[in-house]
């Protein structure tokens, strides 16, 4: 028994057991964004979702969007590159806060 069980993803809609109207609005929004062709293709959206899933470290989303990317014809090179984009962004976001550290150095006369 793990804290995250893959099969629990199937219970996602159960979160609407209370305040169902809010969950319905979420699913409408979610499906409109991710499950429809738009200015981005569904294939491109799945790659973005895979990257975000890794950045946010959501095990359900990683399982779901790994499969989704494959089912939209993506390959391991493209998918790995997508998660490198997420990793590089995360690293950049950490490092750019070094500016705040340098600001504080200046303030402290370091």
């Amino acid at each position: 028994m793990n804290y995250y069980e893959s099969k629990d993803l199937g219970k996602f809609a159960d979160v609407g057991r209370f305040k169902k109207d809010l969950m319905d609005k979420f699913f409408d929004y979610y499906n409109s964004v991710l499950n429809a062709e738009g200015s981005l293709t569904k294939r491109e959206k799945a790659l973005i979702a895979l990257a975000v899933a890794h950045s946010k470290q959501c095990p359900y989303c990683i399982d779901a969007y790994t499969t989704s990317c494959l089912e939209h014809g993506s390959n391991p090179d493209e998918m790995t590159e997508a998660i490198h984009v997420a990793a590089a962004m995360d690293a950049g976001i950490d490092l750019v806060h070094g500016v705040q550290m340098l600001n504080q150095f200046d303030k402290l006369g370091v």
Binding site: R43, L70, N75, D77
Partner: protein, 342 residues
């Protein structure tokens, strides 16, 4: 016969019930899959293959010995020539080119002006015959002279997926073969020299949308290898034999079946290929499709159970046999030997 469904026992412990009941699914959606025609005679002439692919529903390999006798080949040709309603001969295997009478069969069918399709794995041109060591490098010439349609497996436009599914070195040999076929005029829009590629997923997931994937294949193969082809067919992996065993080893058979069942598409069901073909095994038995053949589910109409008893009218009255594997042909946009069906 391989057990077709995941079965659960009822309370009395005796009567098995299927978790994945295709007949019930058809009934629930009011879908009729009675025969429409016998347009195509699909003949599996050998289980011998130069490859042993992960997804292969025939369990073909260089070690298989089953092959059709010349007498049965002649009987198939006799049936083919006996009825104008049978327009296509679809020769499959294994690698059908490895059968000693393959070329004879093709030539005879073409003399009758029948459309001939070959399930050609591309690498057989480069690999020596597993038993005799003979070369097949002249196959592109043979195909071109006989104006046959080629339906060739190409699971991806890159090496990794292709070799993962079909064996090391397959991608490079396949690219070489495609270049040879292009040089003969195949894959350039000439209706006499049609080259179709077949994509099937390298794992337990559904194929991408056919037209979108075709665009990607066209661009990648043209940009990187200067290769062209006519059509891409996407095919779903069948949860039987070697692929099923692999799913079970990974403890993902149930998940895969649930995925297929959840993606059931009534429109795809109406277009299933078994409604317009019959499939003949190496020993002359008749089946509704190649998958039923591999599961030894011979046609329900026993008076037309072999190619020696062929009777068009009786076959049109048969009830097409179904099992849990049929969900593989009805998931998403559907799957057949010619790709999507919906």
């Amino acid at each position: 016969m391989e057990k077709l469904e995941t079965e659960i026992l009822t309370k009395d412990g005796n009567t098995p019930k299927s978790n994945f009941d295709f007949a019930e699914q058809l009934q629930n959606h009011n879908v009729d899959i009675s025969p429409l025609s016998v347009d195509t005679l699909q003949v599996n002439i050998t289980k011998l293959c130069n490859q042993a692919c992960l997804h292969c529903h025939v369990d073909s390999s260089p070690l298989r010995t089953e092959h059709m006798s010349l007498e049965t080949i002649d009987q198939c040709l006799k049936v083919l020539g006996s009825d104008d309603r049978i327009k296509n001969l679809d020769i499959t295997g294994g690698a059908p080119e490895l059968h000693e009478h393959f070329r004879y069969m093709v030539k005879e069918a073409r003399k009758m002006n029948k459309h001939v399709m070959i399930r050609h794995n591309l690498t057989v041109t480069h690999d020596p015959h597993p038993n005799t060591g003979e070369s097949n490098l002249d196959l592109p010439d043979f195909f071109e002279k006989n104006n046959v349609e080629l339906v060739s497996s190409m699971p991806y436009y890159q090496e990794y997926f292709t070799d993962k599914q079909r064996g090391r070195g397959v991608f490079t040999k396949s690219i070489d073969s495609l270049k040879m076929l292009n040089a003969k005029g195949y894959g350039k829009g000439n209706p006499a020299l049609i080259l179709d590629l077949v994509y099937n997923p390298v794992g337990a997931f559904l194929p991408a949308v056919q037209c979108e994937l075709q665009e990607k294949f066209e661009k990648e193969l043209a940009d990187n290898f200067n290769i062209t082809f006519d059509n891409l067919f996407v095919v779903t992996n069948m949860p039987i034999h070697r692929f099923k065993k692999d799913l079970e080893r990974r403890d993902s058979y149930e998940d895969y079946m649930n995925k297929l069942v959840n993606a059931f598409n009534p429109l795809a069901a109406e277009g299933v290929m078994c409604r317009s073909m019959i499939s003949v095994s190496y020993d002359g038995k008749v089946y509704d499709c190649d998958f039923n053949q591999m599961l030894e589910m011979q046609v329900s109409n026993q008076s037309s159970a072999t190619i020696y008893d062929f009777d068009y009218e009786k076959l049109m009255e048969r009830k097409i046999l179904v099992g849990s594997h049929c969900f593989g042909c009805t998931a998403g946009a559907g799957s057949s030997c010619g790709g999507e069906t919906a």
